[in-house]
């Protein structure tokens, strides 16, 4: 059985989708059967995962509402071992409440992730920000959680909430492990950023904050704008290297 890793954060815009997309590509490029699942109704994965032109826009939402079968919404990418399940047409809706309650009130997310786990080495789930029902449902069906934390002051105030939530869910999901907090968009030249990173490392248990740090990088932004993971578009970029190293670290833990 493969492993399901949910990428979570309390706050939006902290590099969650970028992390999910690049980790998935880093795993797949090096031979792991990987499925990237987007359950965030904002649906940003479709912009950065390297999907082929003219790909289907249906996804998880369309599956759980009975409009699509799983086979037709698992999308290929430029990597043979990477498949993507988008969140689907819910991204076009103004109101996501129906989608949220459908995920919250059923076991369909768990069923999809369990099925995916039986066929893949790694399943990476990109979740919406916060601690809503979708995130909880994703964590309930995961073996691993990764918290992304942007090195900026507000992040410090929201981190304890997500850690408490993971702790709560781990009480009922005995398989769930917090793999660590990943510092993202790190700028060594920005004193505020450095201070936040130091504060986090000082006040959280040493093994909770990953040594690997993802630097802010123009190449990463360019890659996302070009619709590709930076680990494929600019493999030597420091952000790409960070994601490759993180995949290597996690692959060791997953075994």
């Amino acid at each position: 059985m493969g492993q399901v890793l949910s990428v979570v954060s309390q706050k939006g815009g902290v590099g969650k989708t970028t992390t999910a997309v690049n980790l998935a590509a880093a795993f797949a490029r090096r031979g792991q059967r990987t499925l990237l699942v987007d359950v965030d109704p904002q649906g940003a994965v479709r912009y950065g995962a390297g999907l082929r032109r003219g790909h289907a826009t249906r996804g998880f939402f369309d599956y759980i509402t009975g409009q699509s079968g799983l086979r037709e919404i698992i999308l290929p990418t430029q990597l043979p071992w990477l498949r993507v399940l988008l969140v689907g047409t819910v991204t076009e809706a103004a109101n996501h409440a129906g989608y949220q309650s459908l995920v919250a009130d059923t076991d369909m997310l768990r069923d999809v992730l369990t099925e995916a786990r039986s066929r893949c080495d790694v399943v990476i789930v990109d979740t919406p920000p916060g601690l809503g029902a979708i995130v909880r449902r994703a964590l309930e069906a995961s073996q691993h959680a990764l918290v992304t934390l942007q090195c900026e002051p507000l992040a410090l105030q929201t981190t304890p909430q997500i850690l408490r939530a993971i702790q709560d869910i781990a009480a009922t999901n005995g398989e769930l492990t917090l793999d660590g907090i990943l510092l993202t968009m790190y700028e060594a030249s920005n004193p505020a950023c450095v201070r936040v990173a130091e504060y986090v490392r000082k006040h959280l248990p040493a093994d909770m904050v990953l040594d690997i740090v993802v630097p802010r990088s123009a190449a990463a932004a360019d890659a996302f704008a070009a619709g590709q993971p930076v680990v494929l578009r600019t493999p030597a970029d420091p952000a790409a290297q960070a994601y490759v190293n993180l995949a290597t670290l996690l692959a060791e833990r997953f075994q």
Partner: protein, 278 residues
């Protein structure tokens, strides 16, 4: 505290230089992306043909045929590069050797989980595990009683699932010494009585049968791979509506394990489940 303004400006200037340097590095490294259609861009590795390698033997598929590790390299256009050789490398050669044809061979002393990587023109895969296990010599019941009794229920699905049919796969050393177990090894379960339930294939279609074997999460499954304690297990799920009211009979399940062309001593093990329909 943020430093005084002049120093801050200096830092910003340094940062700008840093960004410029980064941009130069990035543009330079862009040329290193293997856009040549003959260059390796990604790897796809095939699943292990079997769950483990027996110590002193070659990795074999589920039919017992020696099978090499395999994978394929792809270029940036996602086209397979059939001429590029994918070589597998054992990270614990004292436990598992891999020859030039990618046949994995467990050393006689092997009993561990070995990490293996693949390499194609310098692109290395992430490591994956290949268990090297002791040769199975005996199949035994894990629990003292191989006969159980059930009262089926129309309202309580939990009452329609048998007790776990647990077995141990044992390795008895040739010389004097404590028995050990064989981990990560396939064992086969089969319902042999009644005939109406004997056709199970371990696939979802089994759920139309009056009784079928299931795995840990309730899915139809006739085979199991022994766990870290050498234990295998399946349960029988009864489709209670297919049984005549108040009928009483038994389900008989046989368990076998084979090594190469021979069944392991103790095979087949027999489990009997007496049931009473509601």
């Amino acid at each position: 505290m943020i430093g005084p303004a002049p120093r801050g400006r200096h830092r910003r200037a340094a940062g700008t230089v840093g960004v410029l340097a980064l941009a130069i590095v990035a543009s330079a490294t862009c040329t290193k992306i293997p856009t040549n259609p003959a260059s390796v861009f990604s790897l796809a590795l095939d699943s292990l043909p079997g769950p483990s390698v027996v110590a002193g033997d070659t990795l074999r598929d589920t039919n017992g045929i020696a099978t090499p590790l395999s994978g394929l390299a792809y270029n940036i256009q996602n086209q397979p590069l059939h001429t590029v050789r994918v070589q597998f490398i054992s990270l614990s050669p004292g436990q598992l050797g891999i020859n030039s044809s990618n046949f994995a061979i467990g050393t006689p002393s092997g009993d561990s989980i070995v990490r293996v990587v693949a390499d194609a023109d310098g692109l290395q895969s992430l490591p994956f595990n290949v268990p090297v296990v002791l040769k199975p010599t005996n199949l035994v019941h894990a629990d003292s009683d191989s006969i159980s009794t059930m009262t089926l229920s129309l309202t309580n699905p939990d009452s329609n699932v048998s007790v776990p049919l647990n077995i141990f796969l044992i390795h008895q050393p040739d010389t004097l010494g404590a028995d050990s177990v064989t981990r990560s090894y396939i064992v086969h379960y089969q319902i042999v009585y009644p005939a109406s339930a004997a056709g199970g294939t371990g696939t979802p279609t089994d759920s139309t049968l009056p009784a079928y074997l299931i795995g840990g999460v309730g899915q139809p499954a006739r085979t199991d791979t022994t766990d870290g304690n050498g234990m295998g297990t399946r349960q029988v799920n009864f489709s209670v509506a297919q049984f005549a009211p108040k009928s009483q009979d038994s389900i008989v399940v046989l368990v076998t394990a084979a090594y190469r062309d021979s069944v392991v001593a103790g095979s087949p093990l027999r489990f009997v489940i007496h049931y009473t329909a509601p």
